[in-house]
Symmetry: C2
């Protein structure tokens, strides 16, 4: 079947990529399996609160079970890539997971989400109040853990990342119910809310190993590009990705009036009537039951998911090439391959 | 007029204390006025967000204007007391104010508060979502600031304090709609939500000055006792304190079903009928318009505000005596006198 050239590379990858890239994630995970077990134990230990039993109860729901632990695995793998032989990477991996979990708790309150990873969210089960406060607790715990590494450089990187994440979240809030042809603010939002933590997660793995400034920068860039690609794929998945997925709910961003890249690309190619549709649905949040279907048709008509995933793939290519700063090794290979994984999820 | 002996010391202090203790606060503020001006400038600088203009707008509403800046003043005064001559105390004072402001933003969301310092709260003006996220931003900013001091001991103290604050807030949430004769959990809550930050604020002022472990411990104890007294006075003020105050709204804790010390003391002395009243109002939150008046009468009948303020005064005495670890100086005198201030507000 003939397809436009621009879509070809994405869909070819799609046909062969999903299964093999899932294996790539498994291979990366297997390489750091012993360390990850220690991270999980540390997470369990530090979720405990002597005085407030509600904390581990709620935190266990989110942090304790489930989740791929992609971010902490990246920290462990980066430390391994740099030949690190100490124990601080365990603390840093747990730190990164705690920061991630804290932002998820607050995100779900802000987005009024009801489901995450197929389970009812903490804000639904316990209410918004404990979700806000336990998020604060996990965030504080993350700082305690990173302080234990006694590395001021690590503390600088992670405290900066935390501020950038919060800025990204606030910026996203300001951009709700707005749509334009300009994708620069969207890119700022995803750099903040997602890529900043990926970047810090990989960078600190190198810092504790005492790598050169060049290698530290390479790890930071790898994490940033990987994080951007991850979020682009996520935003494509919110419109179903390139193949129908069973059980995956779609259209949350659309209903919340968030103009992600698939919508921006469709809007850039839209005629006057289509623009009026997007403005009504995104800016006025005036939506009927049929509007999501129409939005999906417009996104398909203009190849906007393919365009989004091409953008993701460009970032993946950039991520992989930064790893040339390190000698070849099984970990380097697994980090290269896992880059594919984050995009293949949506392809 | 004859009064029970137990009430005497509080009320004598009340008669003469309010004006002179307000002067004590002014004297302390005057001693650190130049430093405080630098703290205010630093706060203004660091509220800025390059990408998210909503952040300084909302933060300025809370942090920029108003507030006594009691906690940062304590940090500045502690550093001065210890003869510190560097510049890190400015950063630490701003750190402490940012942590305080972040917790206020989240508190107001959790408590659904409409007013703070006589102004509409941020959650009312901008909504809960920006309040949660800007709170996260201020918390992150506080960590960036403390990292700049390059003192691992300072980072340890402040990250521990942050976790204890969050635990105190969660514990408080678990204790809503509960009442018992036991005041130990109440004391844990106020140590967490209030005293922990006072303690860290004074302690880090000594740490950056490189004081002895004994003096560091004395400063920590001073802050803790002062913070407990401050919260006890606040909780007495929520029932009007010992004298009627114009424009001060009362009964928030009662309506929210929070059994603070005035209620616990009244409950300890209650007969069966009174206990049934408290259980209905606090545990069942089944309240009529007249119930607050009746609660105030029961609190007065059992001298529960006086008992609360006596407890506060004991903590103030303990706070003042720890300062004997330092040579006499105008700052030491002002810190001794300001202890009176935090209780006199409610006397």
């Amino acid at each position: 079947m003939a397809k436009p050239a621009g879509r070809n590379s994405v869909e070819t990858a799609s046909a062969s990529g999903v299964a093999s890239s899932a294996q790539a994630f498994d291979r990366l995970q297997a390489l750091v399996a012993e360390d990850l077990e220690q991270v999980n134990q540390l997470i369990q230990q530090r979720m405990v609160s002597e005085h407030a039993p509600l904390i581990p109860e709620l935190a266990a729901h989110l942090v304790g079970a489930g989740g791929k632990r992609l971010r902490p695995i990246l920290t462990l793998a980066a430390a391994r890539l740099c030949g690190y032989e100490g124990a601080h990477h365990i603390r840093l991996a747990a730190t990164v997971e705690f920061i991630h979990s804290a932002t998820l708790l607050h995100d779900d309150v802000v987005d009024e989400s009801a489901l995450r990873r197929g389970q009812a969210t903490a804000n639904i089960l316990w209410g918004n109040k404990p979700s806000v406060l336990v998020g604060d607790f996990l965030f504080s715990r993350s700082f305690q853990l990173m302080v234990e590494t006694e590395s001021l450089r690590v503390l600088e990187i992670l405290s900066n990342a935390s501020a950038i994440i919060a800025e990204g979240e606030v910026l996203q809030l300001s951009m709700v119910n707005k749509i334009s042809e300009d994708d620069s603010i969207y890119m700022q939002v995803i750099r903040g809310k997602t890529a900043a933590l990926f970047e810090a997660a990989t960078q600190v793995g190198g810092v504790i190993a005492g790598v050169s400034p060049e290698q530290e920068a390479a790890l930071a860039t790898y994490g940033d590009r990987l994080g951007v690609a991850f979020q682009l794929a996520d935003d494509a998945l919110d419109y179903g990705g390139l193949e129908a997925r069973i059980g995956k709910s779609i259209g949350d961003d659309f209903r919340e009036g968030k103009a992600t890249l698939p919508v921006i690309r469709a809007y850039q190619a839209a005629d006057a009537e289509e623009r009026a549709f997007w403005k009504r649905c995104i800016e006025k949040r005036d939506q009927t039951d049929d509007d999501l279907d129409h939005a999906l048709k417009l996104i398909a008509k203009h190849g906007a998911l393919e365009a989004t995933l091409m953008e993701a793939r460009d970032h993946i290519d950039a991520a992989r090439s930064t790893l040339k700063a390190f000698p070849e090794s099984p970990v380097r290979q697994a980090l290269e391959d896992v880059a594919e994984f984050v995009v293949a999820r949506a392809s």
